[in-house]
Symmetry: C2
Subunit: 399 residues, 2 copies
């Protein structure tokens, strides 16, 4: 496959620049006390980014929309010769876009970063980034992830280790079967995912279609436990409660977001009657939402693109567990940058839905690996990614 | 002053051993990839400890007890040539002692640490330490603090920096005026503390005595804001509420623990009527207590010896702030080891009571410094202490 179109060339340059900067700094970086941060020179904290379009292997349909690609912005933050990578993923129904992220990151670059000379100041930098404007959560996450990658590299450790987690406690991820009109496509997707430990099924298309999806999947994979994602698709709480019972009989082990985001009482009704845990997704985007939904859900789904990144995500784990709630780590359609960042939190998660990078065909990075469906965490520092394209694009260009 | 008695000699050896081990490892530690942890050899995680008695500058009286010294256990954890220091402080009324800590640490050494070869596994090591037995919170903290000091040193950074805090946000500490029968001693203590930004007053000795303390202090320091610590000393909620009003008029800015620990409703009654914030101390020892007292207090006082150390203390900050509660960092009578560890959390605190090391005359370490009453955080890695005795005992021995 020839990948050398214009976008790939730009991306290659982006990653090459980072690699050269990092390599160039490696020698001088060894001079000061080992393990200490190297104040070789202080060029300030530099933020750069470029647009990227993730191409999806299948048309992706959830309650209300379909698409074949997802707009993404790849960020990098450079300081004293070390570079951290970040990412914003913008599924269109969430309201962010290449343009909105570009606008937001310009404000971070011009209004926030010049007032800091130390990327370790995560608390203040990310609070000021958050204060620029409401929303823009994916744009905020792209700054948070790049800073964490950078600081983790400066500390010489992956974040799971800095946080003191046990990597053997990572969960197995599910593999998502998106809704499709065609029975054959559903069967084909299910067959392709049949090695997975958990299948995630997107429902909320209406009773007949929802039940047909489950039966088609059960034809191909009779016993794999199911994560059900209703995506707010059920409008009646009594119906939703009955579906929860029926789905449990079909081998579902959890249900995400049965009712509308703001219908906390309706979701609570379903939770109190469901034989399996009910997980808040759209109802719980950020830390402050947990108080509102406490009691109405058994668990929360933490996604970096919702919660503005690893710092707030890490706090959400603490808060949820303190309140006796379970946690799940989720994702949008994302490259290995955001997926690997999210994986750093996974040892504290009961469930994981981190298949975003598997569902795209042009991931420019490599990072978190699945072994027999289980998330594995390596010793690569920061968020644990390497820039695979740096090699593979060169190889492809030679053809 | 000649310090070379038997206890000091033992302590000197304890610290010398650590210094030599650390120095010996420094050369080989540079060989592997910079910033990475050095698996030069794996001798396991070694825990050692010794008894220490902190001598107090003044007889210390709070509601219910008086004393002139505090039993302490100093711990050190060594791994691959790096050493972290920790401490357990055992004010007698809390039920721990040299003997109970010794017994507990033996279990940590024999039952927990042999199953780990990596001190970064804070989550698992500290959970298993916690599971050994109920209580023993100071003993648990001595393990937590030493592990944090060790891991911070391995990362080459102080914990305030690893946590991403802004050191310019540290609060000013108060200086504690203990209760005394003698008016002259109270005046003398107050005069000595007159440069402090905040004075902390221990009340709960009865109405007449409590009001006399405040008036004596106000004779010497008419305007310094007061932290009031009732130490559960008030038995009647209506009286406590009236005192809160009177104390606010005298320039008090907060009241700790007006009513008995388990009288959540009584404390809530006072909080709802107090013109100044009411802070939970004895009512909130650990993370799990925050849920119980939520709504009954405005804030919590986090002390490492109550909450088992920095890991849980850090989580308590997240939980309290998520619930809209303020936080204060407190201490027992402690050396610079536990005080400096607590100071790492201080940038997230509204108030601080970290004068434990100032109130003792034989602190064997140096660490957190106060500048014009404000906590200052340096770049020493880990918990930020140096073993001052290593030099000073040698000097004293030469006399």
């Amino acid at each position: 496959m020839i990948l050398c179109n214009f976008a790939d060339m730009k991306r290659r340059k982006f990653i090459l620049d980072s690699a050269l900067l990092t390599a160039g700094a490696a020698v001088s970086a060894h001079l000061p006390v080992m393990g200490a941060v190297r104040h070789v020179s202080s060029p300030g904290i530099r933020l750069e980014w470029e647009n990227f379009t993730a191409r999806m292997k299948y048309t992706f349909t959830i309650s209300g929309s379909s698409r074949t690609s997802t707009p993404i912005v790849l960020t990098r933050i450079t300081w004293n010769g070390e570079t951290g990578y970040g990412e914003a993923s913008m599924p269109p129904y969430l309201g962010e876009s290449h343009e909105s992220v570009d606008l937001f990151l310009k404000k971070v670059r011009e209004d926030v970063l010049p007032r800091f000379d130390d990327p370790f100041r995560l608390d203040a930098i990310l609070r000021e980034t958050d204060d620029i404007a409401e929303g823009n959560n994916a744009a905020k996450a792209s700054v948070d992830i790049a800073l964490h990658d950078l600081v983790g590299k400066l500390l010489g450790q992956p974040w799971w280790r800095i946080w003191g987690y046990s990597p053997e406690n990572t969960p197995c991820t599910c593999y998502t079967i998106g809704y499709d009109e065609s029975d054959d496509i559903v069967r084909q997707k299910t067959a392709e995912a049949s090695g997975s430990r958990f299948l995630k099924v997107k429902l909320g298309q209406g009773d007949a279609r929802d039940r047909r999806m489950i039966r088609l999947i059960r034809e191909v994979c009779p016993r794999t436990p199911l994560f059900i994602d209703a995506n707010q698709g059920w409008k009646d709480r009594v119906y939703a409660s009955e579906m929860a019972g029926w789905l449990a009989e079909q081998g579902a082990v959890l249900i995400e977001q049965p009712m509308a985001r703001d219908d906390i009482e309706g979701n609570g009704y379903v939770t109190s009657r469901s034989p399996i845990p009910v997980v808040a997704d759209e109802s719980c985007r950020r830390l402050k939402d947990i108080r509102n939904i406490y009691g109405a859900f058994d668990a929360i789904n933490i996604k970096l693109m919702k919660c503005t990144g690893l710092r707030e995500g890490h706090e959400m784990v603490t808060l949820a567990h303190s309140l006796g709630m379970d946690t799940m780590i989720g994702c949008m359609t994302e490259t290995s940058v955001a997926i690997s960042a999210a994986a750093q939190l996974s040892p504290k998660m009961r469930w994981a839905d981190l298949d975003g990078n598997i569902l795209i065909s042009n991931d420019p990075f490599s990072g978190m690996k699945l072994v027999d469906g289980r998330i594995t965490l390596g010793m690569l520092p920061g968020i644990g990614v390497s820039d695979r394209l740096y090699g593979s694009v060169q190889d492809n260009c030679a053809q």
